[in-house]
Symmetry: C2
Subunit: 89 residues, 2 copies
């Protein structure tokens, strides 16, 4: 079975996000004064083969913990769904 | 009312994603041969003040189209939710 996992990674709360601060500044310059906070993270979409959703989740957890995220500065969330045939993005 | 909008941005399908290809290569080296494709995008979380969810969505759409995404190479999705008091990430 094919699965699509999404690993979303952000800097932990409390760690300064210079990219987010720059975007917030640009938005304010454009007139968006309603913006209070901007945080920029990564969204990593991984298509993979697995026996089931549990195995896929376990593999993604290992990938995120060992390679994708920096556990000192970053927090992550994993979402898994079965990939529908023909669906593509 | 406070809202939290998430603008997720990917390179359009068909446009080569060198970052994704590099991560796929690293995962394979680590032994994850089940990985078929990796695409890396941005997840931009914006906290903002708006009258309602519709206004918040309209503002986020404008931010994404004018500043955050490059309409030539990137596709984006916007999710809006009301920010619960005390919730933070």
């Amino acid at each position: 079975m094919k699965f699509r996992g999404t690993v979303t990674i952000w800097l932990k709360e409390g760690i300064f996000d210079p990219q987010g601060a720059a975007v917030k500044g640009s938005l304010e310059t454009m007139g968006f004064r309603e913006v209070e906070k901007v945080r920029i993270g990564k969204s990593i979409v991984i298509s993979l083969e697995a026996q089931g959703v549990e195995e896929a989740g376990k593999m993604l957890e290992e990938m995120a913990g060992k390679l994708l995220a920096n556990p000192v500065t970053e927090a992550y969330r994993i979402d898994v769904e079965e990939e529908k045939a023909g669906a593509d993005r």
